[in-house]
């Protein structure tokens, strides 16, 4: 184990290289640019490729090529750039290509600003591009997890032959914390389906086109079956002081770090509060959520977006208990006090 103090944006690249990723294609955008900087620094000397692409559109298609060729490959961007990548992500999902996309979310819509937001939730978690597809979405809340979940992303991508997002906000990308780096993985899994410019792979085809409706429906059904397995097997969530909790705060990314402090403060005051942090946003951690709903008086979802997360929570809870929303937008981060006061207000109401 090697311990280093570094930015989330740098940790995700070093983790990726330890996970066997040897190709990075991306276009700069704040607050994700340090990912490109680190990849430019380390990919070539670790035996990989780094290209600053001409656009996010080109970048995701270079990723498509590298994934077709069997490489562990990544790209990274933020809001506007992710919007541009969506067509390519849909093609990757359709062609079942494993790849990792890091989204360091900034304020929107439009050019918005570069402060942290969580407003890419829908465009990432819901697929974003055209067609009936899903991507696996991991939501780190620390620099250590930028490394760990970044590495896991490559495993899941290969396991399910599917794009995997690492979705987080400008704060987690920009902040520095100590990280313990593991040893590199031994070797990446063999993939017999890729094109390598060899005789054995010269019968392989990477495509998403199926002209015949029956064929395309079968392909879609196969994808849906895969997503069902992902939903069953890959849900991840962190529960913090939930054992006897009557009030559950829900949030991911930077918000969960703040919620943790809020929970501690509430507990000191004798309020039985706990936190549920989705680590996977797809699959959504429905199991923990339904379990906690059995004993909680209410949920309070805290997010830096316009209720994109709370919609999903409400869909799971189906009105069994009240699910409230406290949110900030535009790059403002909810403070400990704001959330604390909101909980107090809701307790008086209920």
């Amino acid at each position: 184990m090697a311990k280093q103090f570094l930015k989330g944006n740098e940790a995700v690249v070093k983790g990726a290289i330890l996970a066997g990723c040897r190709a990075y294609y991306g276009y700069p955008i704040t607050p994700a640019s340090e990912i490109a900087h680190a990849a430019a620094m380390y990919m070539p000397i670790c035996g990989g490729t780094f290209i600053q692409a001409e656009s996010e559109v080109a970048a995701i298609n270079m990723v498509y090529g590298a994934a077709s060729a069997g490489e562990r490959v990544m790209t990274a961007s933020s809001g506007p750039g992710i919007s541009l990548k969506q067509e390519g992500v849909s093609y990757c999902a359709g062609s079942e290509l494993p790849c990792v996309i890091v989204d360091i979310v900034r304020g929107g819509p439009g050019l918005g600003n570069i402060a942290p937001e969580q407003s890419d939730y829908n465009q990432v978690v819901k697929g974003g591009g055209h067609g009936n597809y899903k991507v696996i979405v991991l939501a780190p809340n620390s620099v250590q997890e930028m490394c760990d979940l970044g590495m896991l992303a490559f495993d899941l991508a290969d396991k399910y032959r599917n794009p995997v997002y690492v979705l987080t906000d400008g704060f987690i990308g920009q902040m520095m914390e100590p990280v313990e780096f593991p040893e590199p993985i031994e070797k990446i899994p063999e993939k017999s389906w890729v094109v390598k410019g060899t005789d054995e792979t010269s019968n392989n085809l990477i495509t998403s086109i199926e002209l015949d409706p029956d064929d395309l429906e079968r392909h879609n059904q196969k994808l849906q079956q895969k997503y069902a397995i992902v939903k069953e097997q890959e849900q991840r969530a962190e529960e913090y002081r939930t054992d006897d909790a009557e009030i559950i705060l829900i949030g991911y990314g930077i918000v969960s770090r703040i919620l943790q402090t809020v929970v501690d403060k509430l507990r000191e005051e004798g309020v039985k509060a706990g936190m549920l942090r989705p680590i996977t946003l797809f699959p959504f951690p429905t199991k923990s959520m339904t379990k906690l709903a059995k004993s909680a008086k209410f949920f309070l979802t805290v997010e830096m977006s316009n209720g994109q997360l709370v919609d999903d929570v409400r869909l799971i809870i189906e009105g069994k208990i009240p699910v409230y929303l406290y949110n900030r937008m535009g790059g403002n981060v909810p403070s400990i006090k704001e959330i604390h006061d909101e909980v107090m207000k809701l307790m008086r109401l209920s």
């Binding site: 311990k3 330890l18 190709a23 490729t49 090529g65 570069i114 902040m175 410019g197 495509t207």
Partner: protein, 476 residues
Amino acid sequence: MNNILKKSSSFYDVYERRPGADKLTTTYCPGCGHGVLHKLIAEALDDFGVRDKTIFISPVGCSVFAFYYFHTGNVQVAHGRAPAVATGIKRAHPHSVVISYQGDGDLAAIGIAEIMHAANRGEGITVFFVNNAIYGMTGGQMAPTTLIGQKTMTTPRGRTVKNEGFPICMSEIIATLKAPVFVERVMIGDTKSTMHTRQTVRKALKLQIEKNAFTFIEVLAACPSNMKMTPSRSKQWVKEVLADNFPLGVKKDISEEFEPKDLSRVVVKNSELHDALNLETAKVDSEKIAPYREKMINEEIKVAGFGGQGVLSLGTVLSEMGMRHNYEVSWLPSYGPEMRGGTANCSVKISKKKIGSPLVANPTVLIAMNRPSLDKFEHDVISGGLIVYDDSLIDRKPVRDDVEVIAIPATKLADDLGNTKAANMVIVGALIEYKDLMSQEVVLESLGDVLKRKNLVELNQKAIIRGAEFIKNLKK
């Protein structure tokens, strides 16, 4: 021509991927240029013995189904993006022969950025650009190469310069770039021109096989269906009209002098990766940090000043040193345009407990390095907290009377040491001394590992000592 008509072994014998009963003929219309070009390519792959090494990229357009026919690795891609995909593939497998095959809508309209940049990087790929002056697959709309006056579904009265501008000459454009090695415009018109095209296809592929050269072949071809012409009439049109607007010929050829391009990557063993990634672990003498093991530290520090005063690195040095004392630490910058010229600040947490929010709203310690920072953050400091400010730059005292205050002329002390920029480290020295946060010895020893600019280590060590002395004198 006979060998062109014989089925090449780079084609499948039976087109199993083709839906429907007919597995022996292609989906192309009679007289379509795609079909002929496919044959020329397949024949060249046969003759060079590279079928197995070849990866064929089919675009969106009528040639989307090239993978029905070519018995090579096949990748079907999004509209216009073939050169980007080709880049990803070729970089992964430099030994492979990568063919990016595109129509005029695909390459010259939606995909113009990708082709320009792949060409400009000189990717080791071969581009076949079929210019039939129309969108075939979607039913005959205008292409960027549609001729002035040419009627299409979206130029029903003919293309006009006024509304659509001029047809775009891709070969001439690509030839202006430095990296492309061989650029030629050819046609599939009569037998003679097709035989020449055959030679050109071979030359282009050979240059990839032997030298990893970027080559670009524009092929003028017919789309009889959308031109509503017979196959033979459409070929005549290509020869007489299309070629008249798009001059045939070599646009660039530096193949003789072009040195083979080595695309192979460096080989790095797994055991060397930690070194390559600079993942050295900080070594700290546990004896020296022992006194701090039981200390109940829980500091939330806000560091603020002008950009350029080393505000952010003051924060990182404090946190990194904290990590070396086995504290939990986090550092969060204000980032973005604010940093450019204006003010900068960062939040640092140093604690014995796991850190929740890394954002410092109410600091236990405020380090203010300029007046705007003191003005902005003074009132956020918790009651009983500490304000450290540079009184060589800030012309007022804090007004709070419920906090401790240290006025330190950090900039002046740094100037005395010979470099204004060390003011931030003067403050580091002062703070750790005042709060007894860490071992000064460990901080001084580790400074070389922590600072990026190694030539400034000695100066900064002096600055830390100077800051600590200042506090010792105060305490006296």
